[in-house]
């Protein structure tokens, strides 16, 4: 069953077609990887889904509702939450307060909010840093915090924009396990990633973008051997 469906989605910046007539479907409980060379339009797709940008044309459906014209906070209420490629923590807040802001999306009772916040911090292994100010966190912890805040909004659909970038191998493994656990809890995940190891081991399906268009789509092994994809990434010289 398709939860998210993009229909002929188009968005240009001046003369540049960032996303051109993109059709894309994500099914419930799936982990889909979105890859492509720099400037392929991956983050623009995220910005369009999360309503940070308005599409020029085309429509977006989530759980059969047309969400094309909603505002970012309404998208979040619907159950879609995004993280940012360049993490945007509330720098002067403690880790706990950062997560608390997210939990206001669904919860009202003070005690409930407190419990949920601690539960999420525990899940991500940030609980002993709960009183640290966000600006004093390492990049690895900031990425985790970004995810923690998103989880606090109780989403059913996560848009993860390069949550692995800048992490060391151990932290990457932690993050992979976290994402797999989220999937087992029934969450649907669309992720942008550059690290091939991560994308190949996590995704059930990969969609490759190039110049705003869908270049290829398929299982990780199909994509790995797809000639178009190799060409797009490495140039024509290697195509032989």
């Amino acid at each position: 069953m398709a939860v998210l469906h993009l229909e002929d989605l188009t968005r240009s910046f001046g003369g540049l077609m960032a996303v051109a007539q993109l059709n894309l479907t994500v099914s419930k409980g799936e982990i889909v990887g979105l890859i492509g060379p720099n400037g392929a339009g991956k983050t623009t797709v995220f910005n369009l889904i999360s309503a940070f940008l308005k599409p020029d044309s085309g429509r977006i459906f989530f759980e059969n509702d047309d969400i094309t014209h909603l505002k970012p906070h309404q998208i979040c209420k619907k159950g879609i939450c995004r993280t940012f490629q360049i993490v945007k923590p509330f720098l002067s807040f403690s880790v706990k307060k950062n997560v608390r802001i997210g939990s206001y999306n669904r919860l009202k009772e003070k005690q409930e909010i407190e419990d949920k916040t601690i539960e999420i911090l525990d899940f991500l292994g940030l609980v002993d840093k709960k009183d640290v100010t966000a600006k004093n966190l390492s990049i690895g912890d900031r990425k985790k915090l970004e995810l923690a805040r998103a989880l606090a909004t109780k989403p059913s659909f996560l848009l993860l924009d390069e949550v692995m970038a800048g992490l060391n191998p151990k932290e990457q493994n932690d993050m992979i396990n976290i994402i797999l656990e989220l999937k087992s809890m029934g969450m649907t995940i669309l992720l942008i990633e550059h690290t091939m190891k991560v994308i190949m081991s996590l995704s059930e399906r990969i969609i490759v973008l190039n110049y705003g268009k869908k270049l290829a789509e398929g299982s990780p092994s199909d994509i790995g051997s797809n000639q178009d994809v190799i060409e797009a990434y490495l140039g024509e010289r290697y195509f032989a």
């Binding site: 939450c81 509330f90 999306n105 606090a152």
Partner: protein, 322 residues
């Protein structure tokens, strides 16, 4: 708990000593609390929500003129005028907020837009018959009565402004410990993140400007009734806007006690310089300027930030209640 006791004790001292003070000291304290009140009102929008209003005197002026016009022309009690003014100020605030926030004006652009609105009111007041044009309005003395908000002694004014300031500080305290305050601060820290986490940034900015304008307007009415004279420059001039946000910046933006601490610091400085350097008019403004520059360079988080960097737990807990 200790912090509250200390603040309650200081408040108690201010309540008790007042009858023993002469008129001059009472005047200094009244102005100190008035600007602490205005600064704390400004702090809701400028400090917590991070929407730096450069034209807050617009609301102050609305409060002063509305109650005065009602009293002058129709003998309506300034207390009623204060409420009418407050709602008019709130509507004006929502109007400015709607225009600015709808189109996503941020930072300096919002500051300039608010400045422009205050200037529009100033020019309006300079040219309209009902506001007395450049002459301003001299409020007629009707007698010593609470209902008319007119007293021959300064003491009642002192207690009124002390109550108003205590009230607004309490309101700031309640906001800062509630979801509302968290949402305001999230918008200040990172509006994009706030949106992504489901906060309706437009709605919360509108709430902030509504609260802030409502309370600032009430301060304007107090000023008019205390001074008995208002004119367009006093009420809508840029100078007053600066006076309003100077104290929160000195004391610490987005903190409960910051604006009040700023006022406590600035009142003696400006009085001492005005008295001792009175023959050089304007020198006190230069001292303001120097103080302001020093604070921005060395203590960008204000007095509260400075105090909270002192590692003594008690001092820290006393003021940092964000």
């Amino acid at each position: 708990m200790n912090n509250r006791l200390v603040i309650a004790a200081i408040l108690f001292i201010f309540v008790v000593i007042a009858p023993f003070l002469n008129d001059y000291f009472l005047h200094v304290l009244i102005m100190m609390f008035l600007y602490s009140y205005l600064g704390t009102s400004w702090n809701i929008l400028g400090g917590y929500t991070g929407q730096f209003s450069f034209g807050h005197t617009a609301y102050f002026g609305i409060g002063a003129y509305v109650s005065t016009i009602l009293l002058f022309n129709w003998k309506i009690s300034p207390w009623i005028g204060m409420i009418c003014g407050a709602f008019l100020g709130l509507i004006f605030g929502l109007f400015i907020g709607f225009l600015c926030f709808r189109y996503g004006l941020r930072g300096p652009y919002f500051a300039l837009a608010t400045l422009a609105f205050a200037e529009m009111l100033r020019i309006g007041a300079l040219n309209l018959e009902i506001t007395g044009k450049a002459m301003g309005i001299l409020i007629p003395l009707e007698g010593d009565s609470f209902w008319l908000f007119q007293f021959t002694s300064k003491l009642p004014y002192y207690y009124i402004i002390l109550c108003m300031t205590t009230g607004i500080v309490l309101i700031n305290y309640i906001i800062s410990n509630a979801k509302l305050g968290d949402c305001f601060e999230a918008i200040r820290e990172d509006p994009d993140s706030a949106m992504a986490l489901g906060i309706d940034t437009f709605k919360y900015k509108m709430i902030a400007i509504a609260l802030s304008s409502f309370f600032t307007t009430m301060g304007g009415t107090f000023y008019a009734q205390y001074m008995f004279y208002i004119d367009p420059e006093i009420c809508f001039g840029v100078h007053n806007s600066i006076e309003i946000f100077l104290r929160p910046i000195l004391g610490g933006l987005g903190t409960v006690m910051g604006p009040t601490l700023g006022a406590f610091l600035l009142a003696p400085v400006s009085e001492v310089t005005r008295n001792f350097l009175g023959s050089y008019s304007g020198v006190y403004l230069m001292i303001y300027g120097i103080l302001f520059i020093m604070v921005i360079i060395f203590f960008p988080r204000g007095i509260v930030g400075l105090l909270s960097s002192i590692p003594k737990e008690k001092v820290k807990n006393l003021f940092v209640k964000t």
